[in-house]
């Protein structure tokens, strides 16, 4: 269905006077229905990896396969959620959630039904006619999720989706992301700066090296999704393990500089 195979891709951005190699022979295999987290130093090409998987950036070498097919353009069942949520300020909550369906030419009545369902599920039904500017940060993020759910996406690509939120809202939405994944069992690739978030939401946590990014380590995290995992000592040990790996990659400066960025 939606296995994501990243086959030794390299991405080079051609600038005006120099080119930047963002990814270098980066390889990664995400099983169908597997949620993984991707973490690494700033500017290591994490976002580029997601954009390549979304079909928005073309690798200069290698290829990305989703559901067994090479991605050379945005794929219908893939949803991309960006750090600033990718909402359009001139569209109401309803129309923002409906955007993907509208672009795909889903008929009006069917569209209204799917959007109403998605908004209901994320607790946004009563805000359908509000504009994004009238919503809180957490609500905007839920709206971005509603858009993905309305599309019935089987692959969710998330680029630091929660980093703009305050700590409480963030934890609340981490729980929501986990609930949604438990119900739908979609393939998920979550780019994050937060070690705790990566361990909470990734069944495997992929550590990228500094630019040009390649896979430096993969940490298995089989307890992910278990009830109360966040409070267990296994959770803390996994976080500590990741912190050590990231420090080795030069992501943390000074031994004491742990925790969330």
């Amino acid at each position: 269905m939606a296995r994501v195979e990243v086959r030794d891709i390299s991405v080079v951005y051609e600038g005006a006077d120099r080119s930047v190699r963002a990814l270098d022979s980066c390889a990664l295999d995400v099983a169908d229905g597997e949620p993984i987290a991707i973490i690494g130093p700033s500017g290591c090409g994490k976002s580029t990896l997601l954009l390549a998987a979304a079909g928005l950036v073309r690798p200069s070498a290698g290829e990305v396969l989703v559901g067994g097919r090479a991605v050379d353009a945005p794929r219908l069942k893939t949803a991309l959620i960006l750090q600033d949520f990718g909402l359009l300020p001139w569209k109401t909550v309803f129309h923002n959630a409906a955007l993907g369906l509208e672009i795909r030419g889903v008929a009006g009545a069917e569209r209204a039904r799917l959007v109403a369902e998605a908004l209901e599920r994320l607790g946004l039904a009563e805000f359908a006619s509000a504009y994004p500017a009238e919503l809180s940060g957490g609500m905007r993020q839920r709206l971005a999720l509603a858009r993905a759910l309305a599309l019935d996406a089987d692959t969710l690509l998330m680029d630091e989706p929660l980093s703009a939120l305050d700590a409480l809202t963030r934890e609340d939405l981490q729980g929501l992301l986990l609930d949604i994944w438990r119900q739908r069992r979609h393939t998920a690739m979550l780019v994050t700066h937060s070690i705790e978030e990566a361990v909470f939401l990734g069944r495997r946590v992929v550590v990228l090296s500094p630019r040009p990014g390649r896979v430096a380590a993969v940490v298995d995290n089989p307890e992910m999704g278990a009830e109360g995992y966040r409070e267990t000592s296994a959770f803390y040990e996994r976080c500590a393990e990741l912190r050590a790996l990231l420090a080795a990659e030069g992501a943390l400066h000074g031994a004491a500089a742990g925790g969330e960025a």
Binding site: L51, A54, G55, L56, A73, P74, R75, L76, T78, A79, L80, L82, Q83, D84, G86, L87, L88, P89, W90, K91, L99, G100, I103, R104, A130, Y131, P132, A133, E134, L135, L151
Partner: protein
Amino acid sequence: MGWLRRAIGYLGAAAALVAGWWLLALIVDSPALPGPGLALGDFATLFFSDLLPELGVSAWRVVASMAISVALAAPLGLLVGRSPRLDAVVAPMIFLTYPVPKIVFLPVLLVLLGIGGAPKIALIALIVFFQILVTARDAARQIPAASVLSVRSLGATRSQVFRHVVVPAALPDIFTALRISTGTAIAVLFFSESIAGTSGVGYYIIDAWSRIAYSEMFAGIITMALLGVVLYELLEMAEARVCAWTRAGR
């Protein structure tokens, strides 16, 4: 409630203007500057008989020319702003022609198009065209990459990106440019109507001036001001409807 506060604001401003005018007329004490009583009296008695037909002619010229320029300049500006290749060709032409005072082409237009409405509409359209073009191009260039990316990730084609992102994002700027252009448009209208032709409020004002009918001249000036205020308000109302989102969450 908004419109009521607006109406009260307009009334207050009008009262202050009339008071200032009255004071100035007292100080200057010249027949060329009649007091507001005389001018408003003439305005009231002449409005339906003499002024309204001229107002209709002038309003048509301004509205037609602004409609033509926005219909041509907005799409062109947005396309140029979103396409680096097109921009490389068009931008130098804009920079070269924008500072040229287009009003000097009035004689040329009079020769080519006669002295009726056509040269006036063409001149106003020419001037407003550039103001909208420059604004639309800049607005299209400033659209956040994330907005475009998120819509493209949903599989949007180029025309869908325009429809869902570029056009709505640029509309508030285009409306602002249009509102600012009404002042320019009416100034150019007055100039072209007073230079050539026998119709329009501009002609009426100059005609009254040549007959030394100063209070009638001022009735014409009031009519011209009215045209500007009404156009500006109509654009404001249209923007409030079309760009409701800019007022959200404030």
